[in-house]
């Protein structure tokens, strides 16, 4: 079976340094893949390169066998969603934030759809009219997830989704990711927390100085 998303030999050179060095990772439908590594190891850069938000020096990304440029990068980003670490909330209400992505392609989500997306990430409907910029870190991340899910992506690229969260909120988000994967969304999550990677199960990678390799711990088991 053809993989849903293939990132092959991705290399990002910045100031003569190979921040990402020929990293290869494959995602199938409903798969969870985690990448661990210290700060500065290049894992965030790899994620942003796969999201086509930064140029790569070499390598290839294929979604359903086609390059983002062939699909159209705008369309590609709707199918391969990227949620950064500490996501910015846009001006306006939580509901307006959730409506952003579909709004870009002229689709107006109904109130019911917005509430459903919020519920999906464990947030109550009472949050919808609140100003998004006044939310707590955990709420922001979940709104950012709902915002990304509003585009109905096939793949979620997540940069340290639990970094701003307390253990309880982290668990809620991790459970949500597992549930999303069960329903067919492929997830590629960067994390530096060992237990979170373990809890998510799935294939594990470790990134060191820009080089990505399958986690030895996992390969042994």
């Amino acid at each position: 079976m053809e993989a849903l998303l293939v990132a092959r030999d991705i290399t990002v050179v910045r100031d003569d340094r190979r921040v990402v060095d020929a990293a290869t990772v494959t995602l199938d439908t409903a798969a969870i893949v985690t990448i661990q590594g210290g700060s500065g190891s290049g894992k965030s850069t790899l994620l942003r390169a796969i999201a086509t938000l930064i140029p790569t020096s070499s390598g290839q990304v294929l979604f359903e066998g086609r390059e983002p440029q062939v699909i159209g990068v705008i369309e590609y980003r709707r199918r391969v969603a990227y949620v950064p670490q500490l996501p910015q909330m846009f001006e306006g209400t939580v509901a307006e934030n959730v409506r952003t992505g579909p709004g870009f392609r002229g689709v107006a989500l109904s109130d019911t759809e917005v509430v459903a997306l919020l519920e999906h990430v464990g947030l109550g409907p009472e949050l919808a009219p609140r100003a998004a910029t006044e939310l707590s870190g955990g709420e922001r991340l979940r709104v950012a997830l709902a915002r990304a899910l509003a585009n109905e992506p096939r793949v979620l690229l997540l940069d340290e989704p639990t970094s701003a969260l307390d253990p309880v909120a982290s668990r809620v988000v991790l459970d949500l990711l597992r549930a999303l994967a069960r329903r067919g969304t492929a997830i590629l999550a960067v994390t530096h927390v060992e237990e979170h990677a373990t809890y998510l199960e799935g294939q594990r990678f470790r990134m060191t100085n820009g080089a990505l390799r399958a986690d030895a711990a996992e390969s042994a088991s």
């Binding site: 140029p55 990068v73 709707r78 949620v83 950064p84």
Partner: protein, 259 residues
């Protein structure tokens, strides 16, 4: 035509006014004395020079001479509009874009007016083309500078937000739209304020000058109305063009933020 002539020694009296500002600057420790002094001298030297240049130009009445002057003004306007920007790709990259944006604005404002509203005879008559052209170029210059300044500053300070718009499937146009709107509004508001307050708060320089040199106020007013309308279209066209160039410089062809 009769008007009160200004001999040089009386010009000197007027210069004392700058002295008052210099004294105030010193008293308030604004440290602007040097800028004020140099600015006053530059203004006098530049204007005296353009005075002589205009006299030669009007005497020559040759289209090449008139358009050469206009071209230099255009170039200086473009250069000035990119010079003090704190963000963005720098003067060398921006200059050609500013040049085109200012040129587009001035072209749209000047050509129909000189064809249909104030047709000079001959069509290249410097007495009309140079001062009105200069006003348009200078207005376009300010608008372009402001649009560039604001958009490139936004691209830097709002990079994270812009990138998230892109990640959610925004086109560069869509991602930049709120910042573009704010920048264009800010650039157009002074011109609109000018429209609203003219005659109530300010009597514009050109009109005042025409009246002082003996033109019927009614005609002077009509000239001023034409110029004000021109200024509106200059600001709009140059501003929109500058915003469009800025967008292309802020994003790559693959809809990525340039770093």
């Amino acid at each position: 035509m009769s008007y009160v002539e200004i001999p040089l020694w009386r010009l000197g009296i007027a210069a004392l006014l700058v002295g008052v500002a210099v004294l105030l600057s010193r008293a308030a420790r604004l440290e602007l004395e040097k800028d004020l002094g140099l600015g006053a001298i530059r203004a006098a030297v530049q204007l005296v020079a353009i005075g002589y240049a205009l006299r030669l130009l009007f005497a020559a009445e040759h289209p090449v001479a008139v358009f050469a002057v206009l071209f230099v003004m255009w170039l200086v306007a473009a250069w000035t509009s990119t010079r003090r920007l704190k963000h963005g790709p720098g003067t060398r990259v921006l200059l050609p874009h500013a040049f085109v944006a200012i040129g587009l604005g001035a072209f749209v404002a000047l050509v129909p007016v000189f064809l249909f509203v104030i047709p000079p005879r001959p069509w290249f008559e410097g007495r009309y083309v140079i001062p009105i052209g200069g006003m348009m170029l200078s207005s376009a210059m300010n608008v372009v500078a402001q649009v560039f300044e604001r958009l490139f500053a936004s691209a830097r300070t709002e990079a994270a937000t812009l990138e998230q718009y892109l990640a959610l499937g925004a086109t560069p146009e869509q991602a930049l739209a709120p910042y573009r709107r704010a920048a264009l509004r800010a650039a157009l508001i002074p011109t609109i304020n000018g429209l609203v307050t003219v005659g109530l708060v300010s009597l514009p320089g050109m009109m005042t000058g025409q009246i002082l040199s003996g033109t019927e106020p009614e005609q002077a007013v009509r000239y001023q109305v034409v110029v004000m309308y021109q200024l509106v279209v200059v600001a709009a066209v140059a501003g929109v063009a500058a915003a469009s160039f800025a967008r292309r410089l802020i994003f790559t062809g693959d809809a990525q933020l340039r770093t």
